[in-house]
């Protein structure tokens, strides 16, 4: 039996060595974003009254579906942080575990590195065992850091037991997904498949819990993500879900190890289905190819933006009661006469959603550059395909992407908002508000197009510019920034419907600017060397 695990420890050390930066970033980011929450809640909702108002908003079924059930009668800073953060953080911890695990098992197997290892006197289960131990270690370190971080915070409602339980809950959830990733790594024969199935199951567990939390509560008990909410951290502090998580992980890991010991290297237990022998017509053009390569991402973002719109929309009904008297929010929402808080909220949310919707559009146009870096353009340019056709194809995908995602986000906001508001805002005015951002999004796409043509090694400037835009437009009022800060970003010139009136001139100027950027990009791109 020991033969099977021989030299696991060396592999374990190798994995830590390979991932010391990657794992540190994950742990640091998750710890940081968790630990800043209680103190920011403290300043946002200083009185119990504010927190109880928040608790009322949290009773909304849409919110329950999103963040899960909490102890709303006992809504201290601690209970509030745990309620609103545990589930969403558990999702990220799960994704982290899956990515780290698959990276060291199936990916290495695919790249032929496991073959090299297995040719050495190393046990058959050494790779899976080392990877399991390694990712469990990452989760344990995360759990310990979280617990210490909570204990050290000078906030009354963050008790020691709750702090330990908070860490244990996220660590436990992470370990559950190590086990799930270990299982799918045996079943699927590619790293993409293993990651896809594991994340798919993660999302399934999230949705299962959402359905359970709204209706049939027993359903939530079948989801490891549901277990994370059963712990009632910082109020009742239940420990049994932690043991359930560990038992579940143990059983699933045992199964994964058994399968791993039996299967062939580079084989999976799911049959891999053959693809198409012939291309469908829709693939047969540069545009078709550009679209096909991004199809999955495109659809995922579209669905994601729709859901984001729905989740923002679902809180519109309670806004007036909730935001009245909240100083922080009042600073962001400068009072405009004649408009309800909900309408002002919509105009702010629209800015945020438009900027988020810009992300997939920029990724989409930047894809042309990543294709070049992967030397896949060489073969295409050896055909009768011009640089111009290629760039225009990717631009078209990006433009369609921008329009679809931002309009879907608006539609989601309207759909959810109209069911919860007493006095709903019309579909036209919400979708119009989202469409007003399209020219600003085009400017960002245009900037990428220009950089791809002119200087692709500084293409990340588009991201810097987008982050800058986000900070000055979103936080501008809060920081009392000068107006010129927001004047140098396209998002600062968009009419904030429905509160502002629509202004045609900035709209047209932004479109004109985008066209100039694109034309310049095309000109430079047609002239420069292609790397590969």
């Amino acid at each position: 039996m020991n033969e099977l695990f021989k030299r696991s420890f060396q592999l374990f050390k190798l994995m830590i060595r390979r991932d010391r930066i990657r794992a540190s970033i994950w742990i640091f980011a998750l710890t940081f974003f968790t630990l800043i929450i209680p103190s920011s809640f403290q300043s946002l909702y200083p009185d119990q009254q504010d927190r109880d108002a928040m608790a009322v908003t949290m009773e909304n079924p849409a919110m329950v579906a999103m963040v899960g059930k909490g102890d709303l009668d006992n809504y201290t800073i601690g209970a509030m942080s745990a309620h609103q953060m545990v589930l969403i953080t558990a999702l990220f911890v799960g994704i982290m575990s899956i990515l780290l695990f698959v990276r060291h098992t199936r990916s290495d197997e695919e790249e032929g590195r496991v073959e090299l290892i297995r040719a050495l006197p190393v046990g058959r289960l050494a790779t899976i065992h080392a990877a399991t131990m390694y990712v469990i270690l990452v989760n344990v370190v995360l759990a310990v850091l979280l617990a210490i971080g909570f204990i050290l915070q000078p906030i009354e409602s963050l008790g020691i037991e709750g702090s330990l339980l908070y860490g244990a809950t996220l660590g436990g959830a992470g370990i559950c997904f190590v086990a799930i990733a270990a299982l799918f790594t045996q079943l699927s024969d590619s790293s993409r498949g293993a990651t896809g199935w594991s994340i798919g199951l993660l999302l399934f567990f999230y949705v299962l819990r959402a359905i359970g939390d709204i209706g049939n509560e027993t359903l939530s008990l079948f989801s490891p993500l549901g277990w994370t909410m059963q712990t009632m951290i910082f109020t009742e502090n239940h420990w049994w879900p932690i043991f359930l998580m560990l038992a579940f992980s143990f059983v699933v890991l045992l199964l994964a190890y058994r399968l791993n010991a039996k299967r062939d290297l580079e084989a999976g237990l799911f049959p891999s289905k053959p693809g198409k022998a012939h291309a469908s017509k829709s693939l047969l053009s540069p545009f078709g190819l550009a679209f096909r390569l991004q199809r999955t991402a495109f659809i995922s973002w579209a669905v994601g933006m729709l859901l984001l719109g729905v989740s923002y929309g679902s809180v519109l009904g309670d806004l007036d009661s909730f935001f009245q008297g909240n100083e922080m929010v009042e600073k962001i929402l400068v009072q405009e006469e004649g408009y309800s808080i909900a309408e002002q909220f919509i105009s702010i949310i629209m800015t945020i959603m438009a900027m988020i919707a810009t992300i997939p559009a920029v990724i989409s146009i930047n894809k042309l550059n990543s294709e070049e870096k992967k030397s896949r353009l060489e073969l295409l340019y050896a055909k009768s395909v011009s640089r111009k056709t290629m760039l225009v194809s990717y631009l078209s995908v990006a433009v369609i992407n921008a329009i679809v995602t931002v309009v879907l986000a608006g539609t989601g906001l309207w759909a959810a908002g109209s069911t919860v508001m007493d006095d709903p805002v019309s579909f036209g005015s919400i979708v119009g508000a989202s469409a007003a951002y399209i020219p600003a999004m085009f400017v960002m796409i245009g900037l990428s197009a220009l950089l791809i043509g002119l200087k692709p090694n500084v293409l990340s400037l588009t991201w810097v510019y987008l982050v800058y835009s986000f900070i000055v437009v979103y936080m501008g009022n809060l920081f009392q920034l000068d107006e010129w800060f927001s004047n140098v970003t396209p998002f600062g010139h968009v009419s904030q419907l429905p509160v502002d009136d629509f202004e045609a001139i900035p709209f047209l100027v932004l479109i004109g600017l985008a066209v100039i950027l694109v034309v310049a990009g095309l000109k430079f791109y047609s002239k420069r060397d292609i790397q590969g």
Partner: protein, 299 residues
Amino acid sequence: MENVVDIKRLTKRFGDFTALNQVDFSVKKGEVFGFIGPNGAGKSTTIRILLGILKATEGQATIFGKDVWSDSMEIHKRIAYVPGDVNLWPNLTGGEVIDLFAKLRGERQTKQREDLLQRYKLDPTKKCRTYSKGNRQKVALVSALLSEADLYIFDEPTSGLDPLMEQTFQEDVRNLREEGKSVLLSSHILSEVEKLCDRVGIIRDGTIIEQGSLEELRHLTRHHVLLETTSNLDGLDDVEGVHDVSRDGNTYRFQVNAEQMDQVIKFASQYSIQKFESAPPTLEDLFMRHYEGTDEVVE
């Protein structure tokens, strides 16, 4: 004969680094031209300039008499290209990629497709992610061979193929020549170039150092000779053009400059010869001559 590819004083600089320096060569219509040189000598850079992917710093390169940079779209309708390192989209199948390339070249689907897939034993229903290097290369090869091109550019096309597939490829190149197509074959495998190519260009450090038919090139170097006699060959060392004599009993091995072979035969005929073997230099000898010590080079 008409030149399909014509390169004159082609220079390419990347910043301070000169990748190609005054490269001159041409590929004639209907010939297979072998382009050889070690890694980093500038073969792929030259080919990428021919494809209009890189822009030449100086000099002129034409294909079918058209400028490779400004008329690339016209040119590309009539050429087919196979790179040495084929990068494909992991989530498309081989069949989809072949169809896509045919479409982008502006061609209709041909019935040869199935034959070629069979010939190269390629499963078109597999995703490119699952293909080995050799199989990815086959996708590019099948796609190139399906095309009705006039010029085929192969950049180390067989580096991932097994010997059987290599042979299939060599047959296909011969067929292309018989059909009157032109081929530019860049390769490391000198025996392959030797078998296939009518003319050869050798590039080193971005400069063409030798160009011509194999016959012409051989003329510049030494033959290996083995001579067995009944008596001692006195004075063999002093014969003009004879080098590196080694003796084992009455068996002599030495090298002879090609143009001085006549004198050697005259000298040897004074003795009673039991065996005379003469091997022309292989391409490898030619090649090595340029990369090893200069003392062996015949000026």
